[in-house]
């Protein structure tokens, strides 16, 4: 049977305030676009099934796992990655709190954690410990045991 598959689509999206145009296969994952095409390798890939949350970014203001979204679905979207959280050279209060509370060791989960913390504090500026734990439940950390991450987020809430 004759079948033509549209191999590529051209999309335009804004990432950390900069607009990009890209021509991609529909099957390209958003995380691959961000890392391989746009060179923003702060966003990490940790698993296959979308469980670990290392790829978490903000898509139109809302935290999502970018390994579960096709790049073509982000056409016209406004994306913020970890590279866009700081204000130039000045760290975001969440990043400061992570630094001060030793909330990272290897740092692999950290970009996703910071984005999830950002989403949590945007919706709930003064969360309880339980609410923080629920808020970061989509981000797995193999190093820290989460204790300092929770402390850091509580700290960041005060700033």
């Amino acid at each position: 049977m004759e079948r033509t598959i549209t191999q590529e689509r051209t999309i335009a999206l804004t990432v950390n305030g900069v607009t990009y145009k890209a021509t991609v296969e529909p099957r390209m994952l958003l995380v691959d676009l961000i890392r391989d095409e746009l060179g923003l390798t702060g966003t990490h890939i940790g698993c296959v099934t979308g469980k670990c949350g290392a790829c978490t970014i903000l898509l139109n203001g809302v935290s999502i796992k970018s390994c579960l979204v096709f790049a073509v679905q982000a056409d016209g979207a406004d994306i913020v990655t970890i590279e866009g959280i700081a204000d130039g050279d000045k760290l975001h209060p969440i990043q400061e709190a992570f630094k001060e509370n030793h909330a990272l060791q290897c740092g692999y989960c950290t970009p996703g954690m910071v984005i999830s913390a950002y989403q949590l504090l945007k919706r709930n500026p003064d969360p309880t410990e339980e609410e923080i734990k629920k808020g970061i439940s989509g981000n797995l950390c193999r190093c820290t045991g989460y204790v300092n991450i929770v402390k850091a987020i509580k700290d960041a809430a005060k700033k």
């Binding site: 598959i5 529909p26 099934t49 809302v62 999502i64 989403q119 439940s137 989509g138």
Partner: protein, 323 residues
């Protein structure tokens, strides 16, 4: 009837569990990137329906993608055509129905169901189930329509919509029909939806006065699928007599099931802790739980009684019953 061209359901579940639980790398022949497909992004329901009419069995509808994309990455699903319905603005809404119930658009996210005051008021069990589903990122993007159409027996809403006696509106280019939830789930990952149809809405009947709803889920880690899930909707009459009750069980059969013996044990009787205990004991009649990496069939059977008891007690209290 469709299972959307997935690989055998058992293989799907087995592979997902192995990868998720053990973190095993992809075996030879399993890929981490999806196979090629043609992508469509309709902006209206009619456009979407025309595409489904044209491509039928070879197409898969994409909503939040939280069930489909992991399967595509493992190549357990390799649809040739993807119809992305997330750009159809008219499918995401929560409105009160003329009869006092709720109409929920299929693309309504779990986050909306978790936080909507209308849902919390009119259908609290749905909001309760939504709040424990996955994690923040999943709830931000996942949809109720996707969850129901995927029909994974471990999915959160299946037992809930069954207990609610909800109905689904299915539309196609030939018209629309209403499907009772009891007729919707046929088997593991299999529904009575035709390949040319789209679920556009979930209709929840109005909540009667003196009704309590509860959802209880047994799970290991936050965001895990349930090992056993129970949804109860209970209406009380004078003197704590059970006027109506429905008990939906999840994860103990290839589809959600009603605990009919439990319901019979409660109907028309004065509800008490003792009656709830007795009714919970018979919740296991007719269930067909499986053994997998998370729990054995025996454990699931035993836990069905425990979780049913907890859900019944919570619903009873919320219905205004006094212990």
């Amino acid at each position: 009837m469709t299972n959307g061209g997935l690989a055998s359901p058992v293989k799907c579940v087995a592979t997902m569990i192995r990868v998720e639980t053990f973190g095993l790398p992809a075996k030879k022949g399993e890929f981490m990137r999806p196979a090629r497909f043609e992508y469509f992004t309709p902006h209206t329901v009619d456009e979407a329906l025309n595409l489904l009419e044209k491509y039928g069995e070879e197409a898969k509808v994409l909503a939040g993608g939280l069930s489909l994309v992991p399967l595509m990455k493992l190549r357990l699903a390799a649809p040739q055509y993807i119809v992305d319905i997330t750009n159809i603005p008219t499918l995401s809404y929560v409105v009160e129905n003329g009869d006092g119930g709720l109409c929920i658009g299929a693309l309504t996210t779990h986050y909306t169901l978790e936080t909507s005051s209308l849902v919390k008021f009119k259908c609290p069990v749905l909001s309760e189930a939504a709040s424990g589903l996955g994690d923040t990122q999943v709830r931000n993007r996942g949809t109720i329509g996707g969850n129901l159409c995927h029909a994974d027996p471990a999915c959160e809403y299946l037992s809930v919509v069954l207990a609610l006696n909800a109905e689904l509106k299915a539309v196609s280019s030939k018209g629309e029909r209403t499907i009772k939830v009891a007729d919707f789930f046929l088997d593991l990952f299999t529904t009575s939806l035709e390949p040319t149809e789209l679920v556009s809405e979930v209709k929840v009947p109005p909540m009667l006065p003196n009704t309590g709803e509860a959802y209880q889920k047994l799970f290991q880690r936050s965001g895990d699928f349930a090992i056993v899930a129970v949804a109860v909707v209970m209406t009380l009459g004078e003197g704590n007599v059970c006027k109506a009750v429905s008990v939906g069980l999840g994860c103990v059969a290839p589809t959600p099931v009603r605990a009919e013996e439990t319901e019979k044990a409660l109907l028309g009787k004065t509800v008490s802790d003792k009656l709830i205990d007795e009714a919970s004991e018979v919740a296991t009649r007719g269930i067909k739980p499986t053994t997998d990496i998370h729990a054995s069939a025996e454990y699931r059977t035993e836990m069905t009684k425990v979780i049913t008891r907890r859900a019944l007690k919570a619903a009873f209290v919320r219905a205004g019953g006094e212990k």
